[in-house]
């Protein structure tokens, strides 16, 4: 068990544990925090796999920006109490069971899929320079077209978020 493996297992346990924390904690704020932890763990995995750029982006964009937005909204709505009424037990059980069964089915389906080993040699494809090259040459179209996505999102935020629509 080398360091790599130790880190892998550690991050894995953290990721799964905090993911469970997201869905089990009764306080929305702690859910958010658990989710941020999960993101950090996932970023750790990225680093392990030499995807340094993505690891950084993940932390900055996801953990930093997006989750803060979530937190902001939760705070805005005063949902930080434990007040969320729980679904009844049966529904929760059904949720867990169906999710678990799906997990098992997919697992069973994929257990023989591939036995490739991830080599632990460092590669540089995950470096910002390489990614940038690929992004702005090969994938320039999606990059540009994403602007449409953001425009839509912007319109959405304006249209939906703006207050004071007069009553018809």
């Amino acid at each position: 068990m080398n360091l790599y493996e130790v880190l892998f297992w550690l991050l894995t346990v953290v990721a799964i544990g905090s993911a469970l924390g997201v869905i089990l904690s009764r306080n929305p704020v702690s859910s958010v925090l658990f989710l941020i932890v999960t993101f950090f763990a996932v970023s750790g995995h990225y680093v392990l796999m030499n995807a340094q750029f993505l690891a950084i982006v993940n932390i900055i964009v996801y953990a930093g920006a997006i989750m803060v937005l979530f937190l902001f909204v939760i705070m805005l709505m005063n949902l930080n109490a434990d007040a969320e009424p729980q679904k009844n037990r049966l529904v929760q059980l059904a949720g867990v069971l169906s999710g678990g069964i799906l997990f098992l089915v997919v697992l069973a389906a994929l257990k023989t899929s591939s036995n490739n080993l991830l080599e632990q040699t460092a590669t540089d494809i995950g470096l910002i320079k390489n990614l940038g090259m690929t992004l702005f040459t090969k994938f320039v179209l999606p990059f540009e077209i994403s602007s449409v996505l953001f425009l839509s999102a912007m319109i959405g935020a304006v249209v939906l978020g703006k207050k004071g629509e007069p009553q018809k």
Binding site: K87, V91, A94, G95, S98, G99, I101, L102, V105, V106, A108, A109
Partner: protein
């Protein structure tokens, strides 16, 4: 002349068309005149044809036009003129004419007289088609045609429900027989490829067709079923007494003289077939005999003047079938002829009585009419003597021939037939005595109006009375010498087959026996009617009065169950079963819709839950079922 045979049915057809189209506008007298004249014209042509056939003796087929032509099925519309058909032509047009003349007077008060003559002409037309047709199909056309006319005429007074019921009954029972006829035709067509008499009989006699005897028997039986319906034999006879609902001349023409003898004509025509089909022939004899006896027993206790005559007709038809059944074809035809004369006479006579009694038909309310109606009374007596078989009258000759032939065939049947003949004498004279002798039992009102009928009625009566006397002399019994012009005339077409010639002594004895017994029965009838009291019948008499309860029996085992079955099918099978099933599909869809709809609970969580389940299921199918 033979080429002009189409004129024979054409005149009545023309009469029908004129009267039929102008039934509202033509005056009554014109209708009567046109109707009678048309039949008279036919009679004239028929007479010409008769003599031509008599001299040449050959059968001629007159092809008119193509009728049904499909593949190798080819049935032309053709007439066959030979001894048998020409004889029937004479009977039909001759008796028919007399009855037309009679009707001009009898129906004079009826507003539908022109229509009546149209129907009557149509009947004559159909009957002529029946006997003239050169194939079974053309015969069938006439066969059903006369059934139709019978239906129309029985229900002539259509406002009376029981009359129209009787008409319907007649038609339906005829139809049952017709189905038999149809099957017979199809069997012939299937096995011989033709329906034409000449080709069919040619093949039967020539033995070209490879047909088993059971097929012959089946064909013969099927045809006989047809005859049962038309000629009112057991078990299809009950319509005939009810058919008396029609105007009396109609009863005389259709239900006594002509239509009901169609069955006899048909079997005589098919004698070649019946000679081979022995079992079927035997069946004919048995049914005929049974009908003769049963009908006679019923006639004994009837009080309606026309009902008595009706049952007597059924009984006489039974005799004819008995003759056919024992192979005495010409004898049967002989009896058809004589019967046409005397039965038409009797019916017309009864019509005259009813006319005089203003519609009264119950003989319990008559009596002593001979004083007021001498001609009617005399002619009626002649008719009775003829039907009873008093020597010298026509009935004697034909009936005696039948009895003799039966004796030669089977002595038991002979004695039974003799019994029926005795009953005939009894009920006919019971009828005569009750009607014409003794004292009048009707109302004073009726009594005051009693009168002899006008000439248009009495002249046909007289003519028929004469025919009833002399009509028998065309076929003398063998003991009186070998004088039998009828047999000679018919010989090219049909002759008795397998009839034993009796010893002269035996024949004398049989004649003597029947004559004596008949006279005894007349005397008995006289004694019985003398002290007639019309108290309610009991025991066997009641059963006889109620016609052996056959109508009730049919009602109970056929009509009612059929009605019940129909209602059951309508209410249960159709509405609940089949339609219910169809509607059930719709209802199921509706029900399912209402259930599946509930899945749309409005809860996003539930929707995602279903999605997840769906994904799981798809994975299960994709990975573990397909592989």
């Amino acid at each position: 002349m033979i080429d002009l045979v189409w004129l024979v049915p054409f005149f009545p057809l023309l009469g029908f068309l004129i009267n039929g189209i102008g039934w509202k506008k033509l005056p009554k007298s014109a209708g009567g005149f046109i109707g009678s004249a048309a039949v008279l014209a036919s009679f004239a042509v028929s007479l010409g044809i008769f003599f031509e056939v008599k001299s040449s003796g050959t059968a001629t087929v007159v092809h008119l036009f193509d009728f049904i032509q499909s593949g190798n099925l080819n049935i032309p519309f053709a007439f066959q003129v030979d001894a048998l058909s020409s004889l029937f032509l004479l009977i039909i047009t001759g008796v028919g004419f007399l009855i037309h003349v009679y009707s001009t007077s009898y129906m004079h008060d009826d507003e539908g007289m022109v229509k009546y003559f149209a129907y009557l002409n149509l009947f004559v037309f159909s009957m002529l088609l029946l006997v003239l047709g050169a194939s079974y199909l053309i015969m069938f056309i006439g066969w059903e045609g006369v059934g139709l006319c019978s239906y129309l005429l029985i229900g002539f007074w259509f406002k009376r429900k029981d009359f129209t019921n009787a008409a319907k009954k007649a038609f339906v029972m005829n139809r049952i027989g017709d189905l038999g006829f149809l099957v017979g035709m199809l069997l012939v067509l299937l096995n011989f490829g033709t329906l034409s008499y000449q080709e069919f009989f040619g093949q039967v006699e020539g033995g070209q067709a490879v047909v088993t005897s059971s097929t012959y028997n089946w064909i013969a039986i099927c045809f006989f079923i047809g005859a049962m319906g038309k000629s009112a034999q057991i078990p299809l006879y009950t319509w005939l007494p009810d058919a008396m609902a029609g105007p009396t001349p109609v009863s005389a023409l259709i239900h006594a003289a002509t239509m009901v003898t169609a069955g006899i004509y048909m079997i005589a025509r098919s004698s070649v077939l019946y000679n081979i089909a022995e079992n079927a022939q035997h069946l004919v004899a048995v049914i005929g005999l049974a009908t003769a006896i049963i009908a006679a027993t019923i006639a004994i206790k009837q009080y309606d003047i026309k009902k008595v005559l009706a049952y007597s007709t059924v009984s006489q038809l039974g005799f004819m079938f008995l003759a056919l059944g024992v192979g005495a074809y010409t004898t049967a035809v002989f009896h058809v002829m004589t019967h046409a004369f005397f039965k038409a006479l009797l019916f017309l006579g009864s019509g005259s009585v009813i006319h005089a009694m203003h519609g009264e038909q119950d003989i319990r309310n008559m009596g002593g009419l001979s004083k007021k109606m001498p001609i009617t009374s005399t002619t009626f007596l002649i008719g009775c003597l003829a039907i009873a078989g008093i020597p010298g009258f026509s009935g004697f000759f034909s009936k005696d021939e039948i009895l003799a032939a039966t004796y030669g065939h089977n002595s038991v049947m002979y004695y039974l037939a003799l019994g029926a003949a005795m009953m005939t004498a009894f009920y006919m004279f019971r009828l005569y005595f009750l009607t014409f002798t003794g004292s009048f039992r009707g109302t004073e009102d009726q009594k005051s109006h009693l009168h002899e009928s006008p000439a248009a009625i009495t002249i046909p009566l007289a003519v028929l009375a004469i025919l009833s006397i002399i009509g028998g002399y065309v076929g003398m019994p063998a003991v009186f010498g070998d004088f039998h012009p009828l047999n000679e005339y018919l010989a090219p077409v049909v002759s008795n087959h397998g009839v034993h010639h009796l010893e002269h002594n035996t024949e004398w004895m049989l004649m003597g026996l029947s004559t004596v017994l008949v006279i005894v029965m007349i005397v008995v009838a006289y004694r019985v009617t003398k002290k007639a009291n019309f108290a309610a019948n009991t025991g066997i008499a009641k059963i006889l009065e109620n016609k052996w309860y056959v109508d009730e029996l049919y009602d109970a085992i056929i009509v009612r169950p059929l009605g019940a079955l129909s209602s059951l099918l309508d209410k249960i099978v159709e509405k609940l079963g089949i339609d219910g099933l169809v509607n059930g599909v719709g209802k199921t869809v509706h029900w399912a819709s209402n259930r599946i709809r509930l899945m749309q609970s409005g809860q996003v969580g539930f929707y995602i839950f279903i999605m997840v389940l769906g994904i799981t299921a798809l994975f299960a199918i994709g990975f573990f079922w397909i592989h």
